[in-house]
Symmetry: C2
Subunit: 201 residues, 2 copies
């Protein structure tokens, strides 16, 4: 990717290190995370690197991993929320002032990069668009295929509090009292059946 | 933590490296992720390290990060699903055979470790239980506070497919056609209002 040396770094990492970080976490250099990293890089710069931000992503595909890798926000620490809207957009916002910046892929701008547009709009078969070629296009397009806007949060900005827990009389595990007299699994909403034929000692 | 050297490694990492990995990703050595890492370690051993597994966690607190750090499953790659049940349990399962192992904190067993029990049941104030002391207890308790069972998946095992997308006439962004004639944000379900007073050039 010698033709991409005009990018000095993304999210504070040199390009090869940026790509290696993605591969190590996500299993491969998924184009959505590479593109997502460029979005995070822009959003961090807009909000100011010194500001502690929470994050919202508007799709569960790829983008959550870009935020988790390149900001302190993770699903498990509660600073990242995921909306299952299938929109490739994210917002980083000052968790005290509740204002921040939303960054999204701008379809009009991205038309200048047909591989990027066709990949994003799912107009081309994966086998007809080699990964290295697509990654090159994404890194080349960079911020020029993005738009952004300052926003003020109107909802979804509250940290999720932990619930009051009780011990479920069905399974003897702790569960939130608000779910009823038993936990959801014991209410028949579990996702598994036990299979003691495979029990090990 | 010299008294913990009887643990040689967790999830293939020496204890200090294991703790550093957690801190780097999650921002601090959260006890829930340390404990979660021990659960992942057991579940991986039960399923067999050579098996490609998907994962389900039954809480959004901490445990998703343990799975994302110590297995190839992440939210963004779709191999991890999160149930917001507030139960400290996880299942790793063979994604082809749909069978695997569920691991959970066993309250009865954990009573032998009062700090662990009181922390998990939220019976003690954070300030009365220093982090280092709690982490020591968790590492000492290890698997002896867990139970596990072989399970067969009955639902939630399907990979989430991407939707057919259209361009929203309201915002000109791509969105899933199934959401209606406009995207959810343009239908009034957004989480932000724009604030162009902070626009930058």
């Amino acid at each position: 990717m010698n033709d991409l040396t005009h990018h000095t770094s993304i999210c504070g990492k040199k390009i090869p290190d940026f790509l290696d970080t993605i591969q190590a976490f996500h299993g491969w250099k998924a184009p959505g995370i590479v593109f997502g990293g460029i979005m995070v890089d822009l959003a961090r710069e807009l909000t100011g690197l010194e500001i502690e931000t929470d994050a919202i992503v508007e799709t569960r595909h790829c983008l959550p991993d870009a935020v988790q890798l390149f900001t302190p926000c993770t699903i498990g620490n509660g600073w990242l929320k995921i909306l299952d809207w299938d929109k490739f957009a994210l917002t980083l916002y000052d968790r005290k002032a509740l204002c921040g910046y939303r960054v999204w892929i701008d379809l009009e701008k991205s038309r200048r990069f047909p591989d990027l547009y066709n990949w994003y709009m799912r107009l081309v078969d994966k086998k007809d668009l080699p990964l290295d070629s697509l990654l090159n296009t994404i890194l080349l397009a960079g911020r020029s295929s993005l738009s952004w806007r300052p926003v003020r949060m109107t909802r979804l900005y509250e940290r999720i509090k932990k619930n009051t827990i009780e011990i479920c009389p069905g399974c003897n595990e702790a569960y939130p009292a608000a779910q009823g007299r038993q936990c959801l699994a014991c209410q028949g909403r579990g996702y598994y059946e036990t299979d003691d034929s495979r029990a090990k000692t």
